[in-house]
Symmetry: C2
Subunit: 269 residues, 2 copies
Amino acid sequence: MNPGGGRTPHRHGATGQMQVKQAANVLELLEYFAERRRPATLAEISDDLGWPRSSTFNLVGTIVERGYLYEPRPRAGYYPTPRWLTLALTVAEAEPLPGVVDDLVADVAAATGETTAVGTLTGIHALFLVVAESRHQVRYHARVGDRVPVHASSAGRAILAQYPAASREAIYRRVAFERFSDTTPLGVENVERALLEAEERGYHQSDSEYIADLAGVALPLPLGDRRLSIVVAGPTSRCLARRPETAAILKAALSRHGLAEPGPQAQSR
Amino acid sequence: MNPGGGRTPHRHGATGQMQVKQAANVLELLEYFAERRRPATLAEISDDLGWPRSSTFNLVGTIVERGYLYEPRPRAGYYPTPRWLTLALTVAEAEPLPGVVDDLVADVAAATGETTAVGTLTGIHALFLVVAESRHQVRYHARVGDRVPVHASSAGRAILAQYPAASREAIYRRVAFERFSDTTPLGVENVERALLEAEERGYHQSDSEYIADLAGVALPLPLGDRRLSIVVAGPTSRCLARRPETAAILKAALSRHGLAEPGPQAQSR
DNA sequence: ATTTTTCATTCCTGATTATGAATAAGTCAA
DNA sequence: TTGACTTATTCATAATCAGGAATGAAAAAT
């Protein structure tokens, strides 16, 4: 291992992208508070996140200095200020998805009982913009912002199918075709074949290609000039055999909300 | 200068607090998008924020990797994902201020025509939790999360007055008493005197002690076990002479919303 | 009061990362 | 297509910071 011999730069993921640790730590801290939902002292943050005391001190101090963390009660720990909310609202309002999309997702989640999400393309991933989680005890736990490989997911391929072949090729060039499981498609041909099969079938599907034991069904969701997708996914045991039925529910919901897909999906060029 | 001879650690502000640059950069980037309200390419971010291309590349890559930034349309720049909003909502809902506080602030802002805010104590600062801005062309521009020195602001002293003398002393010990202007109180005695005067007067006031040309009027706002304050502030020309009248409006609004203050404010011990 | 425990803060240096410059990739116009 | 231009990515090293350990301050227990 490490044939070069020297120390390796701090890299992460297939792309060789360098990670900015303290940037990631800010996000981790925000997620920590979202889960905890009450103030935390420096010592608690330090212990829970496994960070050294002094590093936590410096990081928290910086974020406090900027007005994003404060002490709701003296000496009783830090908590995010409402500034996060004002900024997040401003940013979200500037680029809204039509409300009908939220309704659609809620509708499909209710009808199928499974986790339902809307995906968009970003780089070589499909990213979830809207998520409604299943209420089953065993379910697909997905959150807004979660990403899955665009080539190894039904949500991703339902997006790919909306792009011309040339655009798809540009995306394939950047994919490393890592083997996530036995069913992960490992080359351009396999992905393109899945797209053709999906067109004939009338819907996109997946079977544990990226996340083990997860079966999904997806359809394209073109919206203005945006190329989105809607996906329903859950444990194989419950969802694999039921995929055709799930697809029918999806299609019915799309029609009901006036978002029915056009005929053939994949554009050849 | 620099008698130690060695290079100085990267410090900032009166406290000697070390700043974590890339943590601050994440927040700056979020604010950048909140102001811009549309996607930005790496080059645009790099130019607008004055960051090197490669640093911007690494920082954006890290945030994208975590699901907080994405490309709404391929090659058309990055934009924050709705994940910020889901986390901010979660965090905000866990520690709500009563809705009556928002109503109160809106009410006072409408009645006075000046910027109105609710402040809370954090360290040696008063931090604004709620802000309603004046609509005058020349006005006090304050945002949620902005902080002012607790000893050199009416909003701050209206909070201090609610704490026992011992707690106030603990706070004074950490204040550097920097001279922001000619009217900045420069010692414990001056601050304590201002508190006594405010008690006699019936309201707290300020005159360009921290921000030039800014006059403010504030009252304590105890809420459950929280010690908040409400402040109205604006340009000296418009607000200085009118402070008694502003205080009357404030008191009337507090009564109207069932938040009238108790009699004497400053606790002696 | 005194001791014990916990938490916050400072300091210094090895380890990590930010950055300029070079290169690659992509886009647009003709 | 070609060429001009813009944008994205890689790399080596100077600059900066993260983290261990010690100290100080406060709270809790005795």
